[in-house]
Amino acid sequence: MSHEVSHEPIATETDVPTDSDGDVMIEVEGLKTYYENSGLLGGKPVKAVDGVSFDIRRGETLGLVGESGCGKTTLGRTLLQLEDATDGEIRFDGVDITTLGGDDLHEWRRNAQMVFQDPESSLNDRMTIGEIVREPLDVHEWETPQARRQRVKELLDTVGLQREHYYRYPHQFSGGQRQRISIARTLALEPDFVVLDEPVSALDVSVQAEIINLLEDLQNEFGLTYLFIAHDLSVVHHLCDRVAVMYLGNIMEIGPTEELFTDPANPYTHALLSAIPEPDPTVERDRITLHGTPPNPRYPPAGCPFSTRCPARIRPAEYRDLDDELWNRLNTLRDLLSERQRAERSVRDRLRAVVGKDTRFGTVEETYDELFGDQKVPARVQSVLDEIATLARNHDEGEAIAVFNEAFGSVCDDEPPAYHDVSDGGHQSYCHRHTNEYRSTDAVLENRHG
């Protein structure tokens, strides 16, 4: 495997060999979408999308996968200008749409549409199906009202409903049918690009396949370009040409679907893949369990976004021999410390800390007992832990974390990784392990979880 270092984001890399139909439709560059605090006092914004770059090629389906809350829906909504980008560019056929406004934006909206996740919520149930599907046409004053009605009926046909459904209400339809109506509305303005926001996750398993097939047929028929958002990899497998894996506002890995499934490069993709139930029970695949929950997107880690939970995190050389369970406990300790640090900011908590009433975190001793009571802790680790305990007891969490990082931290915690090409097909991964200094992800995971 070739490990070329590229510190540039993907989109700017003009020399990356693309597919045969390398016609790029959408170029996203350094896109950030932050949600400011709704209060008047400001505070740290939620970094829902924190600097992503990728291309979408004409006619392809790009899968966007990640756990809920990773920012994938926000990314999709920003691409459609339903959210304002904080920074970065989205070039749609060369035009940066983040700067569009007024009539230009209105005109552009014809080109890009969205199918929403929840068919219960995406159709206004006080309107007839006809009115719902017709509305985009009305908004853009498409031909005559008579022609619009005709077109709606054609569209109902196209998505596998009946023309007579024009005067029905959404209440009279099942979830799958409602999603078809939603798709018909999406197609009304003949868009080029459609964002599919988990279009089947709210549906029965039996109808999921039907909708997926419909989406595929429509893509072939009308030459659509899809961004398919999903929360697990299994759904995107056969529909998508390429897949991007997202974690905490960043794209961890992007590449051709087959390659990403058979030869995942990023530890996070490994973890996601191991969570897919294996259809063939004879094949042994170890499940990599991820500990803890994703960090608060208001306070993302300084280094790699995945560093707090990564099963392949790079460990400092001197502690390489510690066993995995102890590492887990150490990670938990660090999470606790940073949580305490944030919580300590409230004046009330400070006061209570001063009068010795430790608040919701319990005393340091209790925590230590819980974490390390049943562990064999080597002396050199213990001495660091003691130092941390002293600092924590004095409510100097900042210093405690610094000590922790000094001892147990590594490049994963300190520096954001770069995108590395892992194959010639535009397969890239966001991880330090692709540099030659460190062992490969495969080997480490084999070692630790094998």
């Binding site: 709704s38 008047l40 909504r77 459609l80 339903l82 007024g102 009539d103 934006l105 209105h106 909206r109 014809r110 890009a112 549409q113 969205m114 929403f116 996740q117 929840d118 919520s121 995406s122 159709l123 206004n124 149930d125 006080r126 309107m127 007839t128 509305e135 985009p136 908004v139 853009h140 004053e141 031909e143 008579q146 022609a147 009605r149 005709q150 077109r151 009926k153 054609e154 569209l155 196209t158 023309r163 007579e164 024009y166 005067y167 029905r168 209400y169 209440h171 009279q172 939603s182 509305r185 197609l187 009304a188 303005l189 003949e190 028929e221 009308f222 030459g223």
Partner: protein
């Protein structure tokens, strides 16, 4: 793209035709219903024209009031600076107002220069020019009306037409079935309908009124069912379920019936009253009545004089279902000043209805508009609205109402004139109660703003105004109806309470609260009816509005608990002071 390729524009199917065409296909049921409607309307045509005339009068009043704004602001500015400035300011404001009207007109008419001419300009610019031109046209018309005789002529013509039309006798006219006459020495009656006794004549007329109203309501329902059966395209709509649920909600139906009777009483007040308010209450010394005196002679007197001798004040009582000494029929007795109690009640219903509808209509409009805006835009609009509404809510409602009504009444503001302050009271209630209404619908509107269909509308470029109107307002309408009908009871009580305290409606405008005030010292005497009957009416009507609100709530949203009952409690308690 190929979606277009598979599209054939000339194909017509059955369902894509307009209502008119569908009626033309099967005219039987529609013709039957329209014929019935025509007969019903013809029976009361004069009265409908009378209502229309009053409506036109109200519109003129509003226009006049708006017309005062530019001079008023201009004068204020002029006083602060140099007088000449006042002309510029008032002219500028006039133009701004006219431009606002032009915007409304262009919004609600489908014609637009954008579709007609290709001027090579952007759509927005064309639309703006279109409105500017319309403003100039409106200004010309306004100048024409204000400074040439044209205005007077048109005005006179409108009045003349309505005067003629509204004087056409109707089924329930007082002239057709008169109950005003006098006994003859021979023991019969003179001047009444067919020589019947006034009681019987009045009874017939009253029955006709309610019978007619009932027929009208039933016929309207019939029209709806005919439409549903023969002409509606959809075989089911969500509204069908709402209606079905309401039809089996007996408490709500009770409320609806009483509320409808209340409204009918208010609308047909002149027909239900044994005598008109003008003759009996407003200017009793300008009319003459005849009666048979004790000596057996038919003599003439004024109603005012007769009232003085017909008081129900403890010593002297003209109770319910009796005649006074002047051969006048009093179905509910007389008031403590000798006026006809039923006349008071019927016209008082009008007063309550006008105040209530004005308050709920205007307050509800503000509340719905604000809730749409705050839910859609959130942020600073929301914060400002919260602050404003909290400020208003923090003052006890009844105190605020009292304060405002005293200020405007003492100041003899022109707005305090109509209905002896009734209009003013309606406006004050609207101002005081919109924050409450806004709060009640805030939750639902925030919820509906989060629905994906609102995002969907944004994704294909629907305008904010249309999104609010089509995708949010319909979900709020139910809640505002529920809360509105619950609050209406509170407003009726508040109006009565103000009059009871002598702060509300004074003068010749009949009002229920004042009746209670007038009669409260006689409750223990033979004149108990003066305070008791209006009191019972208030209880009945307020209960009915609450029942209607409950029924609507259960019908519109069977699962939701809007907490409406608690709100009424506070609204009524707040209103009742």
């Amino acid at each position: 793209m190929s979606v277009r390729a598979s599209f054939e524009p000339n194909e017509t199917t059955d369902e894509s035709r307009s209502l008119r065409e569908r009626v033309a296909d099967n005219p039987g049921p529609a013709r039957f219903w329209l014929l019935g409607t025509a007969v019903l309307v013809a029976l009361e045509f004069g009265r409908y024209m009378g209502w229309a005339q009053q409506l036109v009068g109200a519109v003129k009043y509003v226009i006049g009031l708006v017309g005062l704004i530019p001079t008023w602001i201009g004068d204020s500015v002029g006083e602060a600076t140099v007088p000449i400035v006042s002309y510029f300011v008032s002219d500028a404001i006039t133009l701004v107002l006219l431009f606002g009207i032009a915007v409304l007109v262009t919004r609600f008419t489908s014609w637009s220069a954008v579709d007609q001419f290709d001027l090579g300009l952007s759509d927005r610019l064309v639309r703006f020019l279109e409105r500017a031109v319309l403003t100039v046209v409106l200004a010309t018309i306004a100048v024409l009306f204000a400074f040439t005789p044209v205005g007077g002529l048109v005005n006179g013509a409108i009045d003349g037409v309505f005067n003629t039309l509204s004087s056409i006798p109707t089924l329930t006219s007082r002239e057709v079935i008169s109950n005003q006459g006098h006994r003859t020495p021979g023991g019969g009656w003179d001047g009444t309908f067919l020589g019947l006794s006034p009681a019987v004549a009045w009874g017939i007329r009253t029955l006709l009124v309610y019978g007619y109203a009932l027929t009208m309501i039933v016929w309207t329902w019939k029209g709806y069912t005919i439409f549903r059966e023969h002409y509606r395209k959809a075989d089911w709509t969500p509204r069908d379920d709402t209606l079905r649920r309401f039809r089996t909600h007996y408490w709500g139906l009770f409320g609806l019936i009483v509320v409808l009777m209340f409204i009918v009483t208010a609308l047909w007040a002149p027909a239900i009253s044994p005598t008109t308010a003008d003759q009996n209450i407003a200017s009793p010394y300008e009319y003459e009545i005849e009666y048979l005196n004790d000596d057996g002679d038919v003599v003439t007197t004024t109603p005012g004089q007769a009232n003085l001798n017909s008081q129900s004040n403890g010593q002297n009582t003209i109770g319910p279902m009796s005649y006074d000494d002047y051969d006048r029929w009093s179905p509910l007795g007389t008031t403590s000043s000798g006026q006809n109690l039923l006349t008071h009640i019927a016209y008082g219903a009008q007063t309550s209805l006008v105040i209530g509808l004005l308050a709920i209509g205007l307050g509800g409009l503000i509340a719905v508009t604000m809730s749409m805006l705050t839910a859609y835009y959130k942020g600073i609009v929301d914060i400002l609205t919260v602050i404003t509404s909290d400020t208003i809510i923090s003052i006890p409602a009844f105190l605020l109402v009292m304060m405002l009504s005293v200020i405007f009444n003492q100041g003899n503001h022109p707005i305090a004139e109509p209905l002896n302050g009734g209009l003013l009271l309606g406006l004050i209630f609207a101002f005081v109660y919109w924050p409450g209404m806004w709060r009640t619908i805030r939750g639902p509107s925030l919820q509906v703003a989060e629905e994906e269909w609102v995002d969907a509308a944004r994704s294909y470029g629907q305008t904010p105004v249309n999104t609010m109107r089509k995708h949010m307002a319909p979900y709020i309408a139910g809640y505002i109806m529920i809360y509105g009908s619950l609050l209406l009871g509170g407003i009726i009580i508040s109006t009565a309470a103000l009059s009871f305290l002598g702060l509300g409606i004074e003068g010749s405008t009949p009002e229920w609260g004042r009746l209670i005030n007038d009669g409260r010292s006689f409750v223990g005497t033979s004149s108990w009816h003066v305070a008791t009957i209006p009191g019972l009416m208030i209880v009945l009507v307020v209960t009915a509005f609450n029942a209607l609100g409950d029924g609507l709530r259960d019908a519109i949203d069977p699962e939701a608990d809007t907490g409406g009952t608690d709100d009424t409690g506070t609204a009524a308690a707040g209103g009742g002071g």
